[in-house]
């Protein structure tokens, strides 16, 4: 490749990175809260799908993207209530309930989508959130394209991550969450309501996951497709682990994944590349894994009470 096309290639890859990372990041940040409180929610994939569908149908019917987003949050809260009811109050196995959510999410959204949209003959696309070109900054060569021409939901992660970190590490509530996930009995004797803390953490988790799903239809693709989440929920789970259960760690890991994801999309689009596309699709997962295994020296331990009902 010559210099200019190579630069352009790099520019477009990096520009896509943040966007690719965003839905994963929303879900992962939410999951950080849930897991820090000791509740493992592997149902992210299903909940993201439900969020995506809720956002899509609402935005499509009302023509209002913000209402779509609100609908996604509501659907996330409902999912969270059900999830917490089973895992916290009834003390059911968290893996089983999570797996059920994945299947239900897939089934329900698939069914509703076919029933109401797929064969309706309507034009199904939405007007998505448009990129906000930041004045001046967006015209900086290279950097402008990479950093300053994104839509609002992408920029919002810049607030989300520090806010999550602040709540988790600098507020009494965050302290309770961390205690509850580590040693719930100690938290209980300190006067913390363990169940309530877990409920709230689960709700934060599922509503952010739903927002992550909503991003896919409102700010990325412009319509719903069955199974649109394509494994991002599961990646978010891995991101939480590799990010050491911290918001900033989750951000770093999501971005890393985003780079590889954007890269493989671009390689796929290149003419006369002979690598089978299945292999390319697996690339971001493999590459992220390898990089992280290489990078992480300090082994961060999972919250001790993770997965254990109280």
């Amino acid at each position: 490749m010559e210099l200019l096309p190579a630069l352009l290639f790099l520019q477009s890859t990096l520009a896509a990175t943040w966007r690719m990372a965003t839905p994963i990041l929303y879900a992962a940040i939410g999951e950080v809260f849930s897991e820090r409180a000791g509740v493992l929610n592997i149902g992210l994939e299903g909940i993201m799908l439900i969020g995506a569908f809720a956002a899509y149908s609402t935005a499509f019917e009302t023509g209002n993207l913000v209402l779509g987003l609100i609908a996604a949050v509501l659907s996330g809260l409902v999912c969270g209530l059900v999830f917490a009811l089973f895992t916290v109050t009834i003390k059911a196995n968290q893996i089983v309930v999570g797996a059920a959510f994945n299947m239900i999410g897939m089934g329900i959204t698939g069914f509703l989508y076919r029933a109401f949209y797929a064969e309706s003959g309507k034009v199904l696309s939405l007007k998505t959130f448009l990129p906000l070109d930041l004045p001046f900054l967006s015209s900086i060569p290279f950097l402008g394209e990479v950093l300053f021409r994104h839509n609002i939901m992408v920029y919002a992660t810049l607030l989300l991550v520090p806010a999550a970190s602040f709540v988790l590490y600098k507020t009494a509530f965050g302290l309770s969450i961390r205690a509850v996930g580590e040693h719930p009995k100690a938290a209980d004797t300190a006067g913390i309501n363990v169940h309530r803390t877990r409920y709230i953490s689960v709700l934060i988790g599922t509503s952010l996951a739903a927002i992550g799903g909503a991003f896919l239809v409102l700010a990325y693709a412009d319509q719903f497709v069955e199974g649109i989440v394509t494994g991002r929920g599961f990646i978010a789970l891995a991101v939480v682990v590799f990010g050491g259960w911290s918001p900033w760690g989750a951000m770093g890991t999501s971005l890393l994944f985003g780079v590889f994801y954007a890269l493989q999309l671009r390689i796929q689009a290149m003419p006369n590349v002979l690598i089978p596309y299945q292999f390319l699709q697996a690339l971001p997962y493999l590459a992220t894994l390898l990089v992280l295994v290489g990078l992480t020296k300090r082994r961060v331990r999972a919250p001790k009470a993770l997965g254990i009902p109280y």
């Binding site: 507020t171 009494a172 302290l175 961390r178 205690a179 938290a187 300190a190 001790k304």
Partner: protein
């Protein structure tokens, strides 16, 4: 629940628990009509065998369990407690038998945990640190608020627990077996400290199995047995023998009968053993010793001088270096350490909850943890549950272990009964070499007597026994020879002559070494 009067009839008591009943699913009646009266500003000891219901009673007071029936009056008024938050609000503090600290949080974070409304921003931790330091200085507790709890020793964690209760402004402080995990020096310090607190007007309920401590520190004692009150007495009007009788319901031998035996051939010997602790520092710095047939070798020392590492290394749980090691004439390599238990060694570990037991398993399963593969517990690869149950039942009655049902999770047993299960299992394997580390920690005097007799019986049957204990009295009562450990080395060897206790105390502090003869 029956009706409780809104006010206590008797205002002399800061706390009156009246006719408390509590049973658990599985049929254990932990409390059967307990009435406990505590005067303001006194140190009130709660005494009773393992499983007598002390912890349950205090957990009810602290809002962790709901009583089946009964009334609680506190400061003259009927007290409604539904959770620990209520207890804290009423200025009741509790230091639990198994610590309630979050290891991954700092001391200060543990102390303020649960104290603020959720939205409170913790931007004032500096002030909290200052306040903790000030209190720590005032009470002489030596607590660093910025340290992570997981980096603290048990003694330090204990002080953090107490400071936590004081920080929350406790008027009534409950301490559940606080001295079980402390060194004698730390215990001594703690007792003095409790006295100071009581002199300032704090009321203290203190649970312990050590009668000397009861006699030293308390004003009054309430003795429980089998979930009932045996009686409440003034400490000044009683003596250890009477208390022991009240607890156990029979005379307790305070002295052990130890027969003279002639040690036989060397069973276990090690030369120049070196062990590093978790931080990579050398904790055992080249020690050599041998244990003979029909002999108990006692290792005395303030805990934290390498005994823990020594025991872990011999049990094959951490890495070590040595010149030579022999068991029963066989030369051992480092490799063999992992399978010593198959070569006739038994081990009663120091930390029953982490090493001796699998807490979510049933009592019966824990009994056969090491022998489930052997006849009669399994046959052709299948477990034989009837045999396991029968064996467990016989052990339970032999060791007098209080348990509702052998299928019960062992985590639900009282601390002392858990310890008895470990001891029962290990002693029943008739080991050639027996390593016992703090065998009577946290168990009541009746059981202590029993366990010690069992250890002596093993000796008389020919076992070589290495006994590690921070309890000097225990070391002197059981050992045939005593090695004193200080900073990873042996200071010298002494015979178990009671006249030498003083001297051993000095050696434990690293002060004087007697030439080993």
């Amino acid at each position: 629940m029956e009706e409780c009067a809104p006010e206590s009839a008797d205002q002399e008591f800061i706390l009156r628990m009246e006719n408390i009943y509590k049973s658990f699913p599985g049929g254990v009646q932990a409390n059967r009509g307990i009435t406990l009266e505590v005067r303001s500003g006194e140190i009130h000891c709660l005494l009773g065998e393992n499983g007598a219901g002390k912890t349950v009673l205090m957990s009810i007071l602290y809002g962790l369990y709901k009583p089946d029936s009964g009334c609680i009056y506190y400061k003259g008024k009927k007290l409604d407690i539904h959770n620990p938050k209520d207890a804290i609000r009423h200025r009741i503090g509790m230091v639990h038998q198994h610590f309630m600290l979050v290891p991954t949080l700092t001391v200060a974070e543990n102390i303020v945990l649960g104290q603020y409304p959720p939205w409170k921003v913790l931007n004032h931790m500096e002030e909290v640190h200052e306040r903790i330091r000030a209190m720590s200085d005032e009470f002489g507790l030596d607590v660093d608020p910025t340290k992570l709890v997981q980096d603290l020793s048990v003694g330090e964690q204990q002080r953090v627990e107490i400071l936590k209760a004081l920080y929350h402004g406790a008027d009534l402080l409950i301490l559940d077996e606080p001295t079980a995990v402390l060194t004698p020096q730390e215990s001594e310090h703690l007792l003095k400290f409790l006295r100071q607190l009581a002199d300032r007007g704090l009321t203290i309920i203190f649970i312990t199995h050590k009668l000397e401590e009861v006699m030293e520190v308390s004003d009054r004692v309430t003795v429980l047995r089998d979930g009932r009150v045996v009686g409440t007495v003034n400490t000044s009007e009683t003596n250890p023998r009477e208390l022991a009788r009240m607890m156990v319901g029979r005379e307790v031998l305070m002295e052990l009968k130890k027969s003279q035996t002639q040690p036989g051939k060397v069973i276990f010997a090690v030369r120049d053993l070196r062990v590093r602790d978790a931080r990579g520092l050398e904790a055992v710095k080249g020690v050599s010793f041998e244990v003979r047939e029909r002999e108990i070798l006692g290792i005395a020392g303030v805990s934290g001088n390498g005994q823990t590492e020594l025991a872990l290394a011999l049990a094959g749980l951490i890495d070590c270096e040595f010149d030579e090691m022999r068991l029963d004439g066989q030369i051992l390599t480092k490799h063999d350490l992992h399978r010593l238990h198959r070569m006739g060694m038994a081990h009663v570990p120091e930390d029953r909850q982490r090493m001796g037991l699998i807490l979510p398993f049933s009592v019966a399963e824990n009994f056969v943890l090491k022998s489930y593969r052997d006849e009669p517990f399994s046959k052709r690869g299948f477990l034989r549950f009837e045999a396991i149950r029968e064996y467990s039942r016989s052990q339970i009655s032999k060791f007098n272990i209080r348990v509702g049902d052998i299928e019960e999770e062992i985590a639900h047993l009282s601390g002392g009964n858990q310890q008895k299960v470990v001891v029962a299992r290990e002693l029943d394997r008739h080991p050639r070499f027996l390593l016992v580390n703090q065998p009577t920690r946290g168990i009541d005097i009746g059981a202590t007597e029993f366990v010690r007799q069992q250890i002596l019986a093993q000796r008389d049957a020919g076992a070589a026994i290495l006994l590690i204990s921070a309890d000097l009295e225990e070391i002197f009562a059981l050992s045939d020879r005593i090695l004193v450990m200080f900073e990873g080395r042996f200071m010298g060897e002494v015979p178990p002559d009671p006249a030498l206790i003083e001297q051993v105390g000095l050696m434990m502090a690293g002060k004087a070494a007697v030439p080993a003869d």
